[in-house]
């Protein structure tokens, strides 16, 4: 059905999407927790900045990433100086772009699930002798877990479909940054590439559909049965 090259594209996409999701998850959780529970000046601004990748043209996000990770950029020069690595034109750069674009969606889903945790249960746990960390680990985290998983799946799906920021940031390098959307774009511009476009598009739709349904099922689990009374 698929050629080795096409399997390579699918495998690369899954790798980029998975790494992006796993790396973004702790950041998204920390930000979601801060927004759900924190009270600090400038919260609205933090909230807005997190949501920027959702509304700014992806090409702008990609360009900002390029500036930051370029050899002379603030993050790029640091990576070069300390680790001798650059993410430009690399799959790791594609994962960064996918992660940044997925962040707002993940933060939203996780924040909702944290806000849905009944704080009276946390109070009950405190009176039973549990300190803040134990309450977090044994009450807050498990109760918001379905929402966290749903956010992760959603972020993964978003990362799989990432196009604009990726192509701007790390270009369209076969075998390195050419994920499904970029391969479809390349095939569209190649005479006789129609069959490939069809096949890759079908795979994209199937993967996205599976992720969305998975995310929805997890979110429903979060809403069912886990509430007191």
């Amino acid at each position: 059905m698929l050629s080795a090259e096409e399997w390579g594209i699918v495998g690369l996409s899954l790798k980029v999407g998975l790494v992006a999701m796993l790396a973004t998850l702790p950041v998204a959780f920390a930000l979601a927790y801060l927004l759900a529970r924190g009270r600090f000046p400038g919260k609205l601004l933090v909230d807005a900045v997190i949501h920027l990748p959702l509304v700014v043209p992806p090409v702008v996000t990609g360009w900002v990433l390029l500036l930051a990770f370029a050899p002379a950029g603030p993050i790029g020069s640091w990576l070069q100086g300390w680790f001798g690595v650059s993410v430009l034109f690399r799959w790791s750069g594609a994962a960064i772009a996918a992660g940044v674009m997925a962040l707002p969606l993940m933060v939203r889903a996780i924040r909702l699930s944290i806000e849905a945790v009944d704080r009276r249960l946390e109070g009950a746990a405190r009176t039973l002798g549990a300190g803040r960390w134990r309450v977090f680990a044994t009450i807050t985290l498990p109760l918001s877990l379905p929402g966290i998983l749903a956010g992760a799946v959603l972020g993964f799906a978003r990362g799989l479909g990432e196009f604009g920021a990726t192509i701007t940031f790390v270009s369209n390098v076969p075998g390195e940054t050419r994920t499904l959307p970029l391969a479809i774009y390349a095939a569209l511009q190649t005479p006789g590439g129609d069959a490939l476009v069809w096949r890759l598009s079908a795979i994209s739709v199937a993967l996205s559909l599976a992720a969305l349904i998975g995310s929805e099922l997890l979110a429903r689990r979060a809403g069912r049965g886990l509430h007191v009374l």
């Binding site: 405190r126 300190g131 044994t138 109760l143 007191v228």
Partner: protein, 200 residues
């Protein structure tokens, strides 16, 4: 003195002020709905911070605005049975019971006292009101508290269950020897169970 409480707290437009001192036994905090009885329990448990005053239980200062003492709830040793059971929905009854317990040494004894042996492997959402109430009491007792706070422990129970829980509270009052502070708006309950009654 078992309880030496003098707290005030502003909540919205109303001001809650409560002051009493009580010796051993079961002290009933009695008053109409909305008088702030639950808020007083929350202030004693450390879940709500008083604006001023002090909370001393069994000789230990848990809160003193003047001296800057404010123990976190986990160090106050309150066995708090809330008005609604507040069982942890993601844990089975056994894990709920043992959540605050230093060990499971007293599990068998507590299960027998509360007659909940058959419930251990159940999920909280499958329990009836009376069962959940008993599990909540067991969870509070197993944490080996220094005192008990009972918030309307008989509300929303049918008559048979009320009688059962009332008997249990009498056994706790007469047997375990922990200072107990119980909130109710029911005069007959207050009359029957209270060693003394504080009106709010």
């Amino acid at each position: 003195m078992s309880f030496d409480v003098d707290v005030t707290r502003r909540l919205g437009d109303s001001e809650i002020a409560c002051r009493f001192a009580a010796a051993d036994g079961l002290t009933v905090l009695f008053g109409p709905s909305g008088a702030g009885k639950t808020s007083v329990l929350n202030m004693i448990a450390g879940l709500l911070r008083p604006d001023a005053g002090h909370v001393r239980v069994a000789g230990e200062t848990l809160f003193d605005a003047g001296a800057g003492v404010d123990l976190p709830p986990e160090r106050r040793g309150a066995g708090y049975v809330f008005q609604e059971p507040r069982l942890f929905p993601h844990l089975r009854v056994r894990a709920n019971l043992l959540y605050g317990a230093p060990s499971d040494d007293r599990l068998a004894e507590t299960i027998a006292l509360l007659d909940i042996a058959g419930l251990l492997d159940r999920w909280p959402r499958s329990l009836s009101g009376g069962e959940a109430r008993r599990v909540a009491i067991g969870r509070a007792l197993l944490a080996e508290p220094r005192f008990l706070l009972l918030d309307e422990p008989l509300s929303s129970l049918d008559r048979a269950r009320r009688e059962e829980i009332m008997g249990l509270i009498e056994r706790l009052r007469d047997g375990v020897g922990l200072p107990i502070l119980m909130v109710t708006h029911d005069a007959a309950e207050a009359e029957r169970l209270g060693t003394r009654i504080v009106s709010l």
